[in-house]
């Protein structure tokens, strides 16, 4: 079983959900992002999702766009992302990578899979890669024992949902709302329905993302999902802070609040 799978099993045994925290690599700087992700782990985030910054992130809202722009303007390269993954994996937390497809295609799919495995990464979440186009990645992830997380959406038909989860390994990512990333005041009613549809199709754990920003929301989502995925709300703590230290402190506070939330699932 993959390291992500172990984390989900352990959480399930403890009667709680896994907290997945997302941060773009190289934001605000390479070292700053390592410090941020380490702080998140120390404050109770179970799994770190490192997003490879991309110039045209069509699934992302303004917060992640801005953070990605800052990272890219700072000159972060794909190779730096691998270095960051290695450093964060050294904390012992599983590190999964979220990436638009073009950076991987340009690095070389097989080469990236090889280097990701060597860096201690567990696998990829691919927001703009559907299984039909993923031939090379399916092969490379087999070859290097990496997890594959494709997204399912409220608009996915039953047939597509089944096909998509069959190609997943590690966990399934359910996009809770029809829309881009960004914290929202309410998570959607569509999410529990989607999660139960996924459960009918697979034994794999299901993570729910898009919109979660508070401990209370995390508790709500933890009530029906195996994983709670938080990005924009965490990133905003760094964006809004006057300096990195203040940002890290705010990040710790929110991480702890969210960690508390996933430990008190609303049932």
């Amino acid at each position: 079983m993959s390291r992500i799978g172990v984390a989900f099993d352990k959480a399930r045994a403890d009667g709680r959900a896994v907290l997945v925290g997302c941060m773009p690599a190289g934001f605000p700087t390479v070292d700053g992002s390592i410090a941020a992700m380490t702080a998140m782990v120390e404050a109770g985030v179970d799994v770190i999702e490192v997003e490879i910054p991309y110039s045209d992130p069509v699934m992302d809202g303004p917060v992640i766009q801005k953070a990605s722009d800052i990272a890219l303007a700072g000159g972060v390269r794909t190779a730096d992302t691998l270095r960051i993954i290695e450093a964060v994996a050294a904390t012992g937390a599983p590190v999964v990578t979220m990436t638009y497809w073009n950076p991987i295609e340009q690095y070389g799919v097989d080469a990236f899979a090889r280097d990701l495995a060597a860096a201690g990464g567990t696998g990829l979440i691919t927001p703009d890669l559907i299984p039909e186009e993923a031939g090379e990645w399916l092969a490379a992830s087999e070859a290097y024992g990496l997890d594959r997380t494709f997204l399912v959406s409220p608009s996915s038909t039953d047939a597509r949902l089944r096909m998509t989860v069959e190609h997943c390994r590690g966990f399934v990512y359910a996009t809770a709302i029809m829309g881009v990333t960004g914290a929202r005041s309410q998570t959607s009613d569509a999410a529990p329905v989607l999660v139960s549809r996924v459960r009918e199709a697979t034994e794999l754990p299901v993570g729910v993302g898009l919109g979660v920003g508070t401990g209370a929301q995390a508790a709500t989502v933890a009530g029906y999902a195996d994983g709670v995925i938080v990005g924009s709300a965490l990133i905003r703590r760094l964006l809004d802070a006057p300096d990195l230290d203040a940002g890290l402190a705010a990040l710790r506070t929110l991480s702890a609040e969210l960690a508390e939330g996933v430990r008190n699932p609303a049932r």
Binding site: Y54, S55, D56, P57, V58, M59, G61, P62, Q65, D69, L72, R77, T78, Y100, W101, N102, P103, I104, E105, Q106, Y107, P127, D128, L129, I130, E132, E133, F150, L151, V152, S153, P154, S155, S156, T157, R160, T164, T175, M178, G179, V180
Partner: protein
């Protein structure tokens, strides 16, 4: 056998043109793309749809557009140049064909809202026009840089009842407008059709847009035969995303003696970092839902494009062009800003026609290839050039370029 037979094998049912095309999109959009694909396939075999579309093209858009022998321009170029006058269409460009087709599809799918991206504003104006005609809500995303250089078109869209949203992210041009439109679509896909303005994006858009604009080439082929008794030696078009070029190429693809030339925006030169020539200056990658040629760095980050022409200022290109390039069926060459503006001026002065700066790239292409083609053929070549749009929207840009605006303007 129809002229398009050979080309109609492409793309495959998943939208692949060889290694290009496909669907690199969020799962949230797949259902909408499938719905669109089904609606489009049904429409293409539906007599009623064809009749409605043909009537709109004829009675509303004013097609078939003329094929005009531009004799004074020809004499300067050293080739017999036949201009496909898409500039005379309603709204002033070839784009009206695509929007009318997609607006009809939108109505058939029962959607009430259309969104679009626009560069020069031509596609935005065309979309706003169709939305007014079909009583659809219309939102147009336009890079902030483009709203400034194409202010006239912004006003036109607003007059037609559309909401224009200036896009302030990234390079603030067409690619970023496309990102914003995609984000809107992901969030509103239930009641919204994304009316893509060029033969790019995820399957089925490249195929669907091509089929809605292919009348350009169907008409031009027939008109050229009527006018000259033969097919042309070459067909020329500018290539931004690639719709006007595919529109005019498609009917000629099986005519292997007819050379197909696409002219990309070479900006300040493809050897500089300020151009928009995705095929001649880019590499294969994934952008905006398809695999195609992209201007990108080694990490796959999109590089900002540059062109004096807002409509060509895009770092990608439709996947069918990538495939026509790889297969050798069409040739792609860059035209610099300076070459395009020289051809722009030449057409103004010889024919009394002010072309869109986009189209001026195709005119400059005629200037580029005429001597070599004449030498190869041993006679004056016959060139069909797609005059994809008129230059009213470019008067300010051109006026500045030529330094003919009064100071206070």
């Amino acid at each position: 056998m129809s002229a398009g037979e050979t080309a109609e094998r492409f793309p495959d049912s998943a939208g692949h043109f060889g290694r290009f095309g496909g669907r690199f999109v969020p799962e949230a959009l797949v259902a909408a793309l499938d719905e669109l694909d089904a609606a489009y396939r049904k429409a293409m075999t539906d007599e009623e749809f064809r009749a409605e579309f043909d009537a709109l093209l004829r009675d509303y858009a004013g097609t078939p557009s003329l094929l005009y022998p531009a004799e004074r321009f020809s004499a300067k170029v050293g080739a017999r140049v036949l201009l496909k006058r898409e500039d005379l269409n309603h709204t002033g460009a070839h784009k009206v064909r695509n929007v009318l087709g997609q607006a009809l599809l939108t109505r058939r799918m029962g959607k009430r809202r259309v969104i679009a991206e626009t560069g020069a504003g031509q596609h935005g104006v065309a979309t706003a026009t169709a939305a007014a005609l079909f009583d659809l809500e219309c939102v147009v995303y336009m890079g902030e840089v483009d709203t400034e250089r194409q202010a006239l078109n912004v006003a036109r869209m607003r007059m037609l009842g559309a909401t224009v949203i200036p896009v302030t992210t990234g390079s603030r041009t067409l690619k970023d407008a496309m990102n914003e439109a995609m984000r809107d679509w992901v969030a509103n896909v239930d009641d919204t059709h994304y009316l893509i303005g060029t033969a790019a994006g995820p399957h089925p858009f490249p195929e669907l847009v091509r089929d809605f604009v292919r009348g350009i080439g169907d008409e031009a082929r027939r008109q050229c035969l009527d006018l000259t008794g033969a097919l042309p030696d070459a067909v020329l078009a500018c290539v931004g995303g690639g719709s006007n070029a595919l529109g005019i190429f498609h009917a000629f693809v099986p005519d292997t003696d007819v050379r197909l030339y696409g002219f990309e925006a070479g900006g300040e030169g493809v050897d500089t970092d300020r151009h928009a020539a995705s095929i001649t200056g880019g590499t294969p990658g994934v952008l905006h839902g398809a695999r195609t040629y992209v201007l990108q760095n080694a990490d796959g980050q999109t590089i900002e494009s540059h062109s004096i022409s807002a409509g060509l200022d895009y770092p990608g290109v439709g996947p069918e062009h990538a495939w026509l390039h790889d297969s050798g069926r069409a040739r792609y060459q860059p035209v610099t800003d300076a070459e395009a503006m020289a051809a722009f001026e030449l057409l103004c002065r010889t024919e009394g026609i002010i072309p869109a700066i986009e189209s001026a790239h195709a005119l400059a292409g005629a200037v580029q290839i005429a001597p070599q083609l004449a030498a190869e053929l041993g006679r004056e070549p016959v060139l069909v050039v797609n005059l994809s749009g008129r230059g009213d929207k470019d008067v300010h840009t051109a006026g500045e370029y030529f330094g003919i605006l009064d100071k206070e303007q």
